[in-house]
């Protein structure tokens, strides 16, 4: 007692975060977290970013985490503070992002009395967190925070919430400075089964039409996983495709890269998935946007699935070899066995497969025609990429057609460069995520590729960017439609465009200026390059409004209920918009 200082719960929280390497917090104050804000006031260590909405805090923490591989931390008040954060927590759960949310709670004695700003935070977030806690004793604060961080960042990462009653924030105790946190029932790192790895290599060695299909698990596993993946892909000579979340794990401009697969993946990637004889899935989860019709998914393939989460294996697609473990560890083992076997060059054996793939490539499934002064959305994104490709860039997106075009046309050289809401598909993700990315990488070029509808969901975070002088760019592909919704209505609902047109839109240039940012607009093709250059050159936050052709569809596309080899391409006829369909627009 004598030589240890007494700290209150709020101070213990901060000390524990500090001990775990946390120095950045995205948050928003309120009555139930004031003791924590009071403790931060005197603490030089923490950089606190004041967002404009708690959903923004959560996405910013996601952007921070996904662009660094580190934990993202958010601090919100009780009641509405925590309910506002829920969309972001769910997003982090579905996309496996390590996020720690500290929420204030009414004092312990008032829990359950419907007190002012009381919400059952642990109840509300039980199904959208990897784990959550309600701290009931100040002596548990340190252990809970350290355990929470361990859970969020190990195994398959995910969000953890710690609900922190105000009386516990104020109660005093000693800080133990305990180094290890041990949870007896938590075993995040399974030892991979070496026999199965051997079997997988045997399958690969004998494959004539193999393909790697890798996902966000590679990126979450760390730099070593991506590096070893590249080495293994090079050593084998196999083609590789990435999921939306896996982009960047393998260099996007490399010859062996087929592009993204799935609903809006490239023709060559999806045809390779359909035709392959051995499929090697590492760190992807056979998501329904990837598989298309299940009976027709990779029908000729022996399937290998490597994942750190045992529930992913055999969940959507039954596989021949399932290996549970960390991607980096398993990739290293695979590479070792491959090298040791001194498997001779596969080039000759694989030649017919590559010839086939190259004929698919000739279809040029991402082709489009930019023929007059109206800017095609694909062209706008393509130009953006051409102008940034030599720079140190990070891309976030909102959700919709522009998101898919960004994934198709922007090639990522390294992991952690592309932050997009894949699993939950959260409109409003991109701008706050860009805030988090820019906080982590203050000197890099951070761009949110946005839609005019999505951006309005969390628009106010531009104010955060202005406050902290974060020079992020919002690149709005403005087609005046909820383009992705319009596309589905066109293809699946007889062109009846129910409520998918925004008949009123803000003037985004004036809006940017109102917030204290810079606003730019391109209406004609001839203005596009100049606007992009000006955007990049400007040292502060910018909103760019690119007016694009309104009715463009995102292709290629696996239509609903179809298989990978039944993609629709840009040149395929699509139904004319009927008079009836547009009647209400």
């Amino acid at each position: 007692m004598a030589n240890k200082k007494m700290l209150n719960g709020a101070e213990i929280l901060l000390q524990s975060l500090k001990d775990c390497g946390v120095d950045t917090i995205f948050g928003y104050p309120g009555g139930a977290v004031l003791p924590i804000y009071d403790a931060i006031y005197n603490d030089e260590h923490f950089k606190h970013i004041l967002v404009r909405h708690e959903q923004g805090a959560a996405h910013a923490a996601e952007g921070y985490a996904r662009s660094t591989g580190k934990l993202g931390v958010i601090l919100v008040t009780s009641g509405p503070g925590v309910t506002n954060a829920i969309t972001g927590l769910t997003d982090a759960l579905l996309d496996s992002v390590p996020v720690l949310c500290i929420s204030g709670q009414v004092p312990t004695a008032l829990i359950g009395t419907d007190a002012f700003q009381e919400a059952d935070a642990t109840g509300l977030t039980r199904s959208c967190t990897k784990h959550n806690y309600l701290v009931k004793d100040v002596n548990e604060v340190e252990e809970t925070v350290k355990q929470g961080i361990q859970i969020a960042t190990t195994g398959r990462p995910g969000p953890v919430l710690i609900d922190f009653p105000k009386d516990i924030q104020l109660a005093k105790t000693e800080y133990n400075d305990s180094k290890k946190s041990y949870i007896p029932s938590y075993h995040p790192k399974a030892k991979p089964d070496l026999d199965k790895i051997q079997q997988a290599i045997d399958l690969m060695e004998n494959a004539v039409k193999p393909v790697f299909y890798t996902g966000g698990g590679i990126i979450n596993s760390g730099a070593k996983a991506s590096k070893t993946l590249v080495e293994l892909v090079k050593a084998t000579g196999f083609p590789i495709t990435n999921t939306l979340l896996g982009l960047g794990a393998y260099p996007g401009e490399d010859e062996q890269f087929l592009g993204m697969l799935g609903m809006h993946g490239t023709y060559e990637a999806n045809m390779a998935m359909h035709g392959c004889d051995v499929l090697i899935n590492i760190g992807a989860r056979f998501d329904d946007r990837v598989t298309g019709r299940i009976e027709a998914f990779a029908p000729f393939a022996k399937k290998i699935h490597i994942d750190i989460d045992q529930t992913s294996i055999d969940k959507n697609i039954a596989v021949d070899i399932g290996i549970i473990g960390d991607a980096a560890e398993i990739l290293l083992e695979m590479k070792k066995i491959w090298d040791k076997k001194s498997i001779k060059s596969q080039d000759k054996k694989l030649k017919p497969w590559w010839d086939q793939i190259n004929t698919w490539r000739e279809k040029d499934s991402l082709g489009y025609i930019q023929d007059n002064e109206d800017i095609k959305p694909q062209y706008a994104i393509d130009r953006l990429y051409q102008k940034i490709k030599e720079k140190d860039f990070y891309i976030t997106t909102e959700v919709g057609q522009h998101q898919m075009w960004a994934a198709q046309y922007i090639k990522f050289p390294t992991p952690h460069r592309f932050m997009t809401s894949g699993g939950l598909g959260t409109m409003g993700y991109g701008l706050p995520a860009a805030v988090g990315v820019q906080v982590a990488h203050p000197d890099s070029l951070v761009i949110d590729v946005a839609g005019e509808a999505s951006i309005q969901m969390t628009m106010q975070e531009i104010s955060t960017a202005v406050q902290y002088n974060l020079p992020l760019k919002v690149f709005i592909i403005n087609n005046k439609w909820m383009g992705m919704v319009r596309q589905w209505q066109e293809l699946n609902h007889g062109c009846r465009y129910s409520e998918s047109y925004s008949d009123a839109l803000p003037d985004f240039v004036k809006l940017a200026e109102a917030y204290g940012a810079k606003g730019l607009r391109a209406e004609k093709l001839s203005e596009l390059d100049g606007v992009i250059d000006e955007m990049i050159a400007h040292k502060g936050p910018v909103i760019v409004d690119i007016l694009v052709t309104k009715q463009e569809n995102c292709f290629p596309m696996i239509p609903s209920g179809a298989a990978h080899n039944e993609m629709i391409l840009n040149e395929d006829p699509i139904p004319e918009t009927s008079e009836e369909g547009l009647a209400k627009v």
Partner: protein, 199 residues
Amino acid sequence: MENQELDAIEQISHYPIPPDNGEADTRHVLTMLARDKTGTLARVIGLFSARNYNVDSLSADNIDVERGISCITITTRGTNKVIEQIKRQLERLIDIHCVIDVSNSKDRVIRELALIKIRAKGQARLEALTIANSFRAHVVDGADDTFIIEISGAPRKIRTLISLLKPLGLAGVVKTGTAGMINSSYSPFEEILKQEEKS
């Protein structure tokens, strides 16, 4: 639903519908050893409702107060694939040590306990007592016109007894839910204790 109808939904919904391979559901008793923490039971139940699994029976209690270990038993139904997924999902919960599918072993013992209240007089009362007796149930409390019997045994035996007593004045049933155990040399409980000692 008819296959055609399902196809039509798949055509327009943009969600692939998992193929039905015609496999029938089977009933499984899953026993979990868990850390005795607030919310553990809620998490288990929440998982079942969120993922659309069935809960036919549930029981939970602390089995080692000192070490804070509790045992949760759930009876559920599903195809083998679904049962396997349930097990993995449960094991993924942070506070669950392990999940044992008791139904998978031939050395299983599965029991329930029920308290049954009968309201009967005269001949009906005698008849009820005789039936209870033949099931090795015993009377634990009696009053003027009601009495309570206690029975433990396999779930089916208890169901049978209840249905026989129904016409004789069945006035109430309380059951504990299923308890299941495998009589093999491997004991997950011992494993947990060993692990805890090691660390």
